[in-house]
């Protein structure tokens, strides 16, 4: 994984590193559907993340997670309680 010399604030991983996002997507697709939230909730969560200054290059600096993965899991919460 290479890092660009510029940073992208409030960007999802798919916007900054397509190759790494591809491998993350494969992992997300392998997760049991029962553990995941539906598309509407997923989009709501990611929309909130994209309004947050903690999101840099697809990663939440509050928890160190790529939000596209963190946001898909039912059990997960935003570390700063912006979505539950």
């Amino acid at each position: 994984m290479e890092y660009p010399n510029r940073i992208c604030k409030r960007c999802l991983l798919k916007e900054v590193d397509a190759e790494y996002f591809e491998s993350l997507s494969i992992y997300i697709n392998s997760i049991d559907e029962d553990l995941k939230v539906g598309n509407v909730t997923y989009k709501e969560r990611l929309d909130i993340c994209q309004e947050c200054d903690k999101l840099v290059d697809g990663m939440c600096s509050g928890c160190g997670c790529y939000v596209e993965l963190r946001g898909i899991m039912k059990k997960n919460k935003c570390p700063y309680d912006k979505w539950l």
Binding site: M1, I7, Y80
Partner: protein, 510 residues
């Protein structure tokens, strides 16, 4: 019945408090989010330092903190981290995951943190990509009280009095990320840089630490010790000069991590089997052999053991938690980590004549951490609890001790390890502390502590025990916790008890 003999009449040296030292690098969420959140954060803080984390760390009596790296140290330029925060240089931490480093945690903030923790300071300076002048001026900035432009700059930035730098690392992993130097080349560089690291106060000289070996690289130790200590070159007054200026070598840094499945394909912290457990313990216990063998080399050059073997990076290194930035080195922490910490600290105690400091990697959110944070939440790890259970050893006198009845156990022929590790010490107030680990994940052990003469009058004990992969989470933070241990019998010579499988016990005896 296993017997733990403790001779309270034979003190074998002082267990320096620094053996229980910590390490915080600009890596992942160790400094930022884990310790420092800034003055304007919604997370309660004092001068930007998270109050919950600092309060928890104070319970450990952190004796010393190493900063700013690690590999980051040899890319760190101290001037980026001083002055008004809004004007500090923003950069990308290319070593560790491409995170934006805004330098809001710099020199002043490090000393603020150490003041809050009440600990000694260990600054690792940049030899790899810095200059002699840069290191010289940083030391002047931190420790001088003279009238000079650099000191005036510090005062202008809000700090009137000099700070105390207890330890200064002159380069880090110079065999690797710190410059990929051969040992003789590094040793020469060390001598050059060290010449210009001045002591501005002779009643508190800076203890200098050279970059030491990577694991079992014994040639590094031989060449670096010989070149720094013995090679006088054309300056026969070298020893006298160093003695007068108090600039001699105080420590050689050894780095050793426990990778149970190798450096490349690491398994997860929480997912392992019985064989993985014993591989981990066997590899962790290898530190004993490393200390013995590096110590033997050091003995030839430094028979009076003035130079400490500083194990300033150690601990478990597993795969990063799924979904987190792999370069942030964020890993969970289970009873496996607790036993690695327990046996390692017992080994360090027993080598306290040569091991003068260790710094577990790292303090918060990185590798074998004391504390994990997620936003406002904080969780104490099993490793944290072990450090707390061992804190009586700090600055106590090591006592002669050994176990009769040790068995060698394991699931694979190549990875066998002793089932029991222990050490014992006596504090100034006469309290004897014995810390004992049962490495077996299936077998408890009947044990009797036997003292030479002491007839115990007051005995209390605490225990940390659980399943091998038990760990604390933000939703369930007290799965692994310290509990009082009362299931023992006091005899006229000691204490009898059964040591549960997979456990760490601390006895305090008077």
């Amino acid at each position: 019945m296993k017997k733990l003999f403790i001779n309270e009449n034979n003190k074998q040296g002082q267990i320096k408090a620094e053996i229980y030292g910590q390490f915080a690098e600009h890596l992942g969420r160790c400094i930022y989010e884990g310790i420092y959140v800034g003055e304007d954060s919604e997370i309660p803080n004092i001068n930007g330092m998270r109050k919950d984390v600092v309060d928890a760390l104070k319970e450990l009596q952190v004796p010393v903190l190493r900063w700013p790296g690690g590999c980051f140290a040899d890319e760190y330029h101290w001037r980026d981290g001083i002055g008004p925060k809004e004007t500090r240089k923003k950069m990308i931490n290319t070593t560790w995951g491409g995170k934006v480093e805004d330098n809001s945690f710099g020199t002043h903030e490090f000393f603020e943190l150490c003041e809050q923790l009440g600990c000694k300071t260990y600054v690792n300076a940049n030899l790899g990509s810095g200059t002699v002048q840069e290191m010289n001026e940083w030391v002047e900035y931190m420790t001088s009280d003279a009238e000079s432009p650099v000191v005036e700059e510090r005062r202008k930035n809000g700090r009137q009095e000099p700070w105390k730098v207890d330890y200064l690392g002159i380069g880090n992993e110079s065999w690797g990320c710190g410059g990929h130097m051969p040992p003789a080349h590094y040793a020469g560089e060390y001598r050059r840089y060290n010449t210009f690291v001045k002591n501005y106060s002779f009643d508190r000289p800076i203890k200098r630490i050279a970059s030491g070996p990577n694991g079992d690289d014994y040639n590094w130790t031989e060449v670096v010790m010989d070149t720094i200590l013995n090679d006088k070159g054309f300056a026969p007054e070298y020893d006298w000069y160093q003695e007068m200026l108090q600039t001699g070598l105080s420590g050689l840094a050894l780095h050793y991590y426990t990778y149970p499945d190798g450096h490349v394909q690491k398994g997860l912290a929480t997912e392992f089997d019985k064989a993985g457990w014993y591989r981990t313990m066997t590899k962790a216990a290898f530190i004993d052999e490393l200390i013995e063998k590096h110590g033997t080399i050091m003995d030839r050059h430094d028979p009076n053991k003035k130079v400490g073997l500083m194990v300033d990076e150690w601990g478990t290194w597993f795969a990063s938690e799924p979904g987190t930035n792999p370069f942030f080195l964020y890993q969970q922490n289970t009873m496996r980590d607790a036993l690695v910490a327990g046996l390692s600290l017992n080994i360090f105690n027993k080598h306290c004549d040569r091991v003068h400091m260790t710094n577990i990697a790292q303090m918060v959110n990185v590798l074998q951490a004391m504390i994990l944070t997620e936003g406002k939440k904080m969780v104490l790890t099993p490793t944290y609890h072990v450090f707390k259970m061992y804190k009586n050893h700090q600055d106590a006198a090591l006592l002669e001790s050994y176990v009769d009845g040790i068995e060698v156990i394991g699931a694979e022929d190549d990875f066998k390890v002793a089932d029991i590790f222990e050490s014992a010490s006596i504090a100034e107030d006469g309290t004897i502390t014995a810390t004992i680990n049962n490495i077996s994940i299936t077998e408890s052990a009947d044990m009797e502590i036997l003292f030479a003469e002491l007839k115990p009058e007051h005995v209390k004990a605490t225990i940390l025990t659980n399943k091998m992969d038990a760990h604390n989470t933000f939703d369930n933070p007290e799965v692994v916790k310290v509990e009082e241990f009362t299931d023992f019998t006091v005899t006229d010579r000691g204490v009898k008890f059964t040591l549960p499988a997979c456990s760490v016990i601390t006895f305090e005896v008077r």
